[in-house]
């Protein structure tokens, strides 16, 4: 949603991601694939945060999309191509968001956050206890046999998954990019500033928030479905509130200034977590908390704003003002 020049840079970035993949080790491919999938969930959280709505329960759609696939496969769903499975998961999550959205779109601030938390915890408690449906704490295996009709072997599966997830992520980000630049996107920013004035101008705040919520839910479902297919196993933890908290964390970490920021944030986050967890398993949460504190107190625009400021300085332009979200009130 920023200038066209960014679009060209990012297209180059996408090509680089396509070309570099074959030489990457399989653990890094896996990490990046998961980071893209989770980045989509974070993108959904960011869309809502731009309207000052904090979805402290986006795990509802992350787990919902994943479990739609898991339960369907367990009950003998005939098709095992990843694209069909992911479409199924996304569809179920979107329908779920369309229903939940009817209720939740009326709420703001703390109440919106609390209600999202309540919904994801309801799903968590059901997934945990209804063993006949969800397999309980053991979870369910999710195995796709083909990706867009492509058969995989143990050697190629990570690479095929990487391309598969990258393609869908790029498509989803493009859709969100267009939405953010559409009247709906601008309306959400206006709602952030003052929703009652938006109402006075004749726009429907409720409808804008509802549509954004459904889109955010669809992104959550898509991310969850992609993660499920990539990991090959799902468990109720996906719906636990701390997972949703992590999505909010990555959203602020990446920054709200661009639709690409969540993906950059997600990749950096997964890399940092990977190393921090290996180096010191008992202090990595402390590291996360410290970074989050530093962002809130010193860099409200997140990673993306630092990147923009650096780029502007490099080009000799005046520094852009820090993006408004998460700061003014």
């Amino acid at each position: 949603m920023r200038r066209l020049r960014d679009g060209r840079t990012l297209l180059l970035g996408l090509v680089a991601l396509l070309l570099i993949a074959p030489v990457l080790p399989s653990w890094l491919l896996f990490l990046l694939t998961i980071a893209f999938a989770k980045g989509l969930v974070v993108l959904g959280v960011v869309l809502l945060l731009r309207g000052d709505l904090v979805s402290f329960g986006h795990g509802l759609y992350y787990a919902g999309g994943a479990y739609a696939i898991g339960i369907a496969l367990k009950d003998g769903f005939p098709v095992r191509d990843a694209l069909v499975l992911v479409a199924l998961g996304t569809l179920v999550a979107t329908l779920l968001a369309a229903v939940v959205g009817v209720f939740i779109a009326r709420y703001r601030g703390i109440f919106f956050g609390m209600l999202s938390t309540a919904f994801t915890m309801i799903l968590y408690s059901l997934l945990l206890k209804l063993r006949w449906l969800s397999g309980g704490t053991d979870g369910i295996p999710v195995r796709a046999s083909t990706y867009l009709g492509i058969e995989t072997s143990a050697d190629t599966v990570r690479l095929v998954q990487y391309y598969f997830v990258l393609a869908l992520t790029a498509a989803a980000v493009y859709v969100v990019y267009r939405v953010a630049a559409s009247p709906l996107g601008y309306l959400m920013r206006a709602i952030y500033d003052n929703e009652i004035r938006v109402e006075y101008m004749g726009a429907s705040v409720h409808r804008a928030i509802y549509r954004t919520y459904v889109l955010a839910g669809a992104l959550g479902g898509l991310g969850g479905a992609l993660a499920a297919v990539t990991v090959g196993h799902i468990s109720p933890d996906m719906a636990y509130w701390t997972v949703s908290g992590e999505f909010v964390f990555v959203a602020l970490f990446g920054g709200l200034g661009s639709v690409f920021a969540p993906l950059v944030g997600s990749v950096v986050f997964e890399l940092v977590r990977n190393y921090a967890f290996k180096l010191s398993p008992y202090t990595w949460q402390m590291l996360l908390g410290g970074v989050l504190l530093a962002i809130i107190l010193f860099a409200p625009g997140g990673l993306w704003s630092l990147f923009e400021r650096l780029a502007a300085r490099h080009a000799g332009e005046p520094e852009p003002p820090a993006p408004a979200p998460a700061e003014q009130r």
Binding site: L49, D52, V54, F56, F103, R106, Y107, G109, I110, F111, G113, M114, L115, T117, A118, F119, M121, I122, Y124, S125, L126, L128, K129, L130, R131, N194, I196, R197, W241, T242, G245, V248, F249, L252, Y282, T283, W284, Q285, M286, L288, G289, G290, L292, L293, I296, L297, A326, E327, R329
Partner: protein
Amino acid sequence: MDQVTIVVLNGVLFASYLFLVSAGLTFIYGVMRILNVAHGSLYGLGAYMGAWLVLRIWPGGTGPLPPWWSYLVLLAGGVLVGVTVGPLLERLFIRRVADRGEVIPLILTFALFLILEDVMKLVWGVNPYLADMPYSMLGSLSLAGVSYPIYQLLLPLVALAAAGLLWFVVKRTLFGKLIVSVIADREVSAAMGIDVPRMYTFAFTLGAVLAAVGGAFIAPMSSVVPGISIEVIILAFAVTTIGGLGSVPGAAIGAVLVGLLRAIAIQGWPELDLFVVYAFMALVLLLKPQGLFGALEVRRI
């Protein structure tokens, strides 16, 4: 008949536990309009401190001091955690985001929560602490044909004492009067010469003490392990939203309702024990978003 007794006893026990963790949370929200995720960490710190002190002074159940002193030690451990960690968090971090709406402080306290999770692991390790001496030395009692540990009958008294303390502080002390005026209108209170930031520190500390003391007294009933804060805070959220954020009587009613509901569920449909809590929370939020006892707020243009 036994079933009813068990449900009532368990319900009351669970309600006491819930009230102890929710009272401070809702009080802090009422005064400062901050939903404090780190409240769960204060509970955890209190539990660790209480269990550690008891195990230190009475290793293996015997020690230099008479065993009943352990209750004082639990109380002291909780208060110590509350009065040190509470003001520290408020002064160093929460104060800096107090004017940035409701969402940013929520996320800030989530960051503090993450940090304190690991602080507990660093200070006390990851092995469970089982300090059950204060619990087991009281034995059990037969109530309507059901054998029931006496310690679990005393916990409601601790919860009542906490409620009484809050009531006394707010209704019968100068600090309480000042707090009420700060809740009503922060700017006018400041203009009248009330040191509002100091009131915030006091209120936050009082809430922190309640959480930590709650943790210390609940510690003897089960092992203290890493991650106890995570489950507690989400339950406290449920209780406070049901009762109405910012309302202490609301938290009490919410605790009793959730406690009984969960006791009934555990007795009748054990697979639904968590489900009923969050479904009830969602239902209350949908029908009455301000909670059963929350005051309606006027939106400002």
